[in-house]
């Protein structure tokens, strides 16, 4: 508690109140993001109900290895983020552990973006961008790839913001300009990071798995 008092900000009288308010705020934000991505996934669902065969054919064109690798990368980044967040919250004076876990999280996030960039390059080469040059002829396949570019693009923007937030914490912690032990900023950033992971967990079966069995 004595260490945490350095982290107390206006308008809170007690550190526990401040911490609770931060967590409550990010959970409300997470709920609003659930609705944002949920609306996009609902649009996908309605389009898929109307064009089942086209969505199966389009899903087969995605690169399942890039998709699976990226899912594993994000799940692993959630592990390092969870350890960083819990170690910081427990106040074990484990500054080195928190910083190295934050750095690993950011590196895994960057790795995801690099794999995604290779995948986007392949998609563009295969003419999977909706438009006059589009490769597939099934009616509705362009809807799949329209949603693919939109949703994965918005997800990548979210992930980029997450990387910036995590790198900020790691850098300030390393430079000694921010106390990471018991700092709610680590937990709040972690909750945002897990949200981005959860969105991808649902995108994986929607984008990469359709049409594999047929």
């Amino acid at each position: 508690m004595s260490e945490a008092t350095g982290l107390l900000r206006e308008p809170w009288e007690y550190f526990e109140r401040q911490r609770g308010a931060g967590k409550f705020g990010i959970w409300v934000f997470v709920a609003s993001e659930v609705l944002f991505f949920g609306a996009l996934m609902l649009t996908y669902t309605v389009c898929r109900i109307d064009h089942q065969n086209a969505f199966a054919a389009a899903g087969r064109e995605t690169n399942i290895w890039y998709g699976t690798l990226n899912t594993a990368i994000l799940l692993t980044s959630s592990l390092t983020m969870a350890v960083a967040s819990q170690a910081a919250a427990a106040g074990h004076h484990s500054r080195r552990l928190v910083i190295s876990c934050l750095a690993s999280t950011a590196a895994l996030g960057l790795g995801f973006l690099v794999v995604k960039a290779f995948e986007y390059k392949e998609d563009i080469d295969k003419h999977l961008v909706p438009g006059a040059q589009f490769a597939l002829h099934e009616v509705g396949a362009q809807l799949f790839f329209g949603l693919y570019w939109l949703i994965t693009g918005v997800h990548a923007i979210h992930l980029t913001i997450g990387i910036v937030l995590v790198v900020r914490l790691a850098l300030l912690g390393q430079l000694g300009k921010l106390q990471l032990d018991e700092n709610p900023e680590v937990e709040v950033t972690g909750l945002y990071w897990h949200l981005v992971d959860i969105v991808w967990i649902f995108l994986y079966p929607l984008i990469y798995l359709p049409g594999r069995a047929s």
Binding site: A31, L35, V46, H92, G190, P205, L209, A213
Partner: protein, 100 residues
Amino acid sequence: MSSEGAKLDRNVWKLWRRNGAIWAALLVLLTLSLALAYVPMGLLTPAAGIVIAVAKAGLVILLFMELARAKPLLRLAALSGVVFLTALFALTLADVLARQ
């Protein structure tokens, strides 16, 4: 000082063991989801993908995000997203699936 160091090591080991087990379960579910996608089971094939995604998200939300031991206010805030999402899907699909 050395006993304090040993205590820290023990705590760190506990952290990795607990979260590592969740991570391993997540990777097993990912592999299962990938394998099941190639098994022709009609509508059950896409359903399996979604059910496994729900299980994975459940692990992340309850254990990594620690909602399982969070205060009721936080659970309520988290639940609100799911409640409105359910309404969104239920009302839209009630229309779409009832057409023709």
